[in-house]
């Protein structure tokens, strides 16, 4: 028996030696980035421990310069942060997108993508930035490779949410005040459709297969389910008039949609097969969860809680808050970066 054990061990060692290098590399490490709207900073958390491992100052003028929406490069290595100020009528030098390298937590680039950018999105190739320019009723596309603006496109009134379809073809921009979504063809660079959704649409997210988009409506208390091929609302999920849905995150398998219920200090969990609310998470939630994201492995959900200056960490299995972590002032959004 002893000889067989040795043979087995030798065989295993040989098998491992023959494996492709990528399969034996250490697992990737995730970091959560939280934009602190009133602190003018980004708080960085180690997802493995949920410890704060750094704070990246964005401006020396907290309370004046406001980091809000964020996007992540396809490889997870760069975080893009939309910056503006509290004077939406003016285009100021702070109106820009900054790029933070996850490995070093340093700001490595800055881009001018129109005035008063509130949220930002990236195309799947990571070559285009799209920003919603809130004060100007415009969305701006920016080519990261050439450093040139792709175009400015009229949107509904007070654009906010912006997302690029998984095939990179369409950009959806929500108009908060006009209750609309404007669809921009990112290849032909022209608006192709404008349609009504719920009242005060804040955020839009595409399903991984690109067949659907979900649009949250804060005042309407709804999530519109959009046929992302026909650009048409096909179903409306009601969360209640006072549910105040804002940011949303889809689980990696696309089976659950997590919706941050800002003013109600709740997170709504929606089954995307039935479009029914499975659970409303309120216990131990921070106050005014505005941003929400889920780790790429689907094991943790993070909310950015604007009024409690904290992040709540939710276990997707038990659908309960398992931890709260203090971050900077006025957390707005949270995204996950990857250290490889």
């Amino acid at each position: 028996m002893g000889r067989y054990r040795w043979l087995t061990l030798i065989g295993l060692i040989g098998f491992v030696a023959l494996l492709p290098t990528s399969l034996v590399q250490p697992a990737v490490r995730y970091r959560a980035y939280v934009s602190n709207e009133y602190g003018a900073s980004i708080t960085v958390l180690d997802v493995a421990t949920d410890a704060v491992i750094g704070t990246i100052p964005i401006s020396g003028r907290p309370g004046e310069v406001r980091p809000r929406g964020m996007a992540v490069s396809p490889d997870g290595r760069i975080i893009y942060v939309a910056l503006s100020d509290f004077q939406p009528i003016l285009e100021v030098p702070e109106d820009k997108i900054v790029a933070i390298e996850v490995a070093t937590n340093k700001v490595v680039a800055e881009y001018r993508v129109g005035s008063n950018p509130e949220r930002v999105a990236l195309n799947p190739e990571g070559t285009q930035l799209w920003a919603a320019n809130e004060n100007a009723a415009r969305a701006t596309g920016f080519d990261l490779e050439t450093g040139r603006t792709l175009g400015e496109f009229q949107t509904g009134v007070e654009p906010e949410g912006v997302a690029v379809s998984p095939d990179g073809r369409f950009v959806y921009v929500t108009g908060e005040t006009s209750h609309t979504v404007t669809v921009i063809d990112a290849k032909e660079l022209r608006p192709v459709k404008h349609f009504l959704v719920g009242h005060r649409p804040r955020f839009v997210v595409f399903s991984q297969d690109g067949s659907k988009a979900y649009v949250s409506a804060e005042i309407g208390g709804t999530v519109s389910v959009v046929d992302a091929k026909a650009h048409r609302v096909v179903e409306t999920i009601s969360l209640g008039l006072d549910s105040r849905p804002v940011e949303m995150a889809l689980s990696p398998d696309g089976k659950r949609l997590y919706v941050a219920g800002g003013g109600t200090s709740a997170v709504y969990v929606i089954d995307t097969a039935t479009n029914r609310v499975l659970r409303t998470i309120r216990e131990r939630m921070g106050r005014r969860p505005w941003g929400i994201t889920i780790t790429p492995d689907g094991r943790k959900i993070y909310t950015a809680n604007g009024l409690s200056d904290s992040v709540s960490i939710i276990d997707p299995e038990s659908l309960s808050v398992v931890r709260s972590v203090s971050v900077g002032r006025g957390p707005h959004s949270v995204v996950i970066g990857v250290v490889r």
């Binding site: 608006p191 349609f195 709740a266 609310v277």
Partner: protein, 435 residues
């Protein structure tokens, strides 16, 4: 139909708007022109009314441009046709012309005492009318009309809010000053109700009735000195409020003075005049429908756009003008088209929700067509040099963030409830003013 877990009243409210919207997408013909008519007073009764009318015009124009661009994206065209009228009769004629010749699908107006006349025309020709300038409770009760909707807050709402703010701040004893006549008496009675029935501990320690045209405040001031109230409420017009303040100031009494917030008394121009006439007493607390410094719920952006466009703060009448176009445009967009009957049905549907930059979905009360909404309390600055800093936002009522409570019931904390309403649309409650 949307799917949901067991539907609560709140969910039904949200869901209704969504369902209507889905119908709209199929039903609204491309290229259809949407025309809204607005009637403004051409000869305002005072400088203050002129300021409010100017602000109203600005709000209407800004909304016309913003929603016009939005309509263009949807393949539509939106026009706001502005007309002026010197008096009520002229307002009626202009309204009729707007409906018959310009083919507007809805009317806006009501400043300068023209609301009732416009309501009459709207009712007769069956076109929705949005009152943006008259808080009279009578128009929401005996004088109510099926086609009339009130974006301007009712007197009952203003008085309930004022009573709540002041009584909760410790002002318990009140002196009420009101003008002779039916409207003055109604305001006085409603103010008493706000103080005595809704706020345990508040009491009336004196009152005075004055002639509305040339009020003589000397006996009032003498009565006030004897009564020693903690607060004085002037249920008077703009000029009379200013006149009172000028005569009151030299007395040096510590009593807080506030005035009924007619639209013309909510402008920063009026606040400046109030402070100029009475440096101390004129720098008190005022109830307003909107405040240019409101900084949440998208209000910051709206206020900023207005400031950029007109280089002046968004006075409440400007906000009302802007929201009137937004509401009527949305009623056509979400309600299935601009046919007046369809628009009216959408406006009065209790499931309909509007977003008016106040951070909570609002709706028209089905029993009197009054828009439920929050009101604001501002403090007039005694020191401010510029127009912008003349007022500071200090209160909001009802508070909109109270998770776990019904938002409709939350908003109904101020104003008359269904059981108190004397409005009977098309029924026995119609008074002599029916058009």
């Amino acid at each position: 139909m949307p799917k949901s877990v067991s539907l609560t009243r709140r969910q039904v409210l949200a869901l209704g708007g969504s369902a209507l919207f889905l119908r709209t997408l199929e039903g609204w013909a491309q290229g259809e022109a949407l025309r809204i008519g607005a009637v403004l007073p051409s000869r305002p009764g005072s400088e203050w009314e002129a300021r409010a009318a100017e602000a109203l015009r600005m709000g209407l124009e800004m909304a016309r441009d913003e929603y016009g661009e939005n309509a263009a994206l949807l393949g539509q065209r939106l026009d706001v046709v502005l007309r002026e009228a010197r008096d009520r009769e002229a307002a009626s004629q202009e309204a009729e012309r707007l409906i018959r010749q310009e083919e507007v699908y809805a009317l806006v107006g009501g400043l300068g005492g023209q609301a009732e006349a416009l309501m009459g025309v709207a009712e007769r020709l069956r076109v929705p009318f949005l009152n943006v300038g008259d808080p009279s409770d009578r128009l929401r009760n005996e004088g109510c009309r099926r086609y009339a909707f009130h974006l301007e807050a009712s007197a009952a709402m203003y008085l309930d809010a004022l009573a709540a703010w002041f009584v909760q701040a410790g002002f318990r004893s009140w002196f009420l000053v009101y003008p002779e006549g039916r409207e003055g008496q109604a305001l006085y009675q409603r103010a008493r109700k706000s103080l005595l029935e809704r706020h345990f501990g508040a009491r009336e320690v004196g009152r005075a009735v004055v002639a509305p045209a040339r009020p003589d405040f000397r006996p009032v001031l003498e009565a006030l000195r004897r009564a020693r109230p903690q607060a004085v409420l002037l249920l008077l017009g703009a000029e009379a409020q200013l006149s009172f303040l000028a005569q009151y100031e030299p007395l040096g009494l510590p009593t807080q003075v506030t005035g009924f917030p007619y639209p013309e008394t909510q402008t920063r121009a009026f606040f400046a005049a109030s402070r100029a006439r009475a440096r101390r007493a004129g720098a008190g607390y005022r109830a307003v429908l909107w405040e240019a410094k409101l900084d949440a719920y998208g209000a910051r952006e709206l206020n900023a756009r207005f400031l950029e466009r007109y280089r002046r703060p968004m006075d409440p009448s400007a906000w009302a003008g802007y929201q009137s176009v937004k509401i009527l445009y949305e009623a056509a967009a979400f309600g299935g088209g601009p046919e007046p009957a369809r628009v009216r049905a959408y406006l009065e549907n209790p499931q309909t929700v509007f977003d008016v930059h106040k951070g909570i979905g609002v709706s028209f009360r089905p029993w009197d067509h009054q828009l439920r909404q929050s009101l604001y309390l501002v403090k007039v600055s005694p020191e401010a040099q510029g127009v912008w800093d003349l007022a500071t936002l200090v209160g909001e009522l009802p508070a909109i963030y109270r998770p776990g409570t019904d938002p409709v019931e939350r908003l109904d904390q101020i104003g008359d409830l269904r059981r108190e309403s004397r409005c009977r649309f098309g029924g026995e409650g119609w008074g002599a003013t029916a058009g």
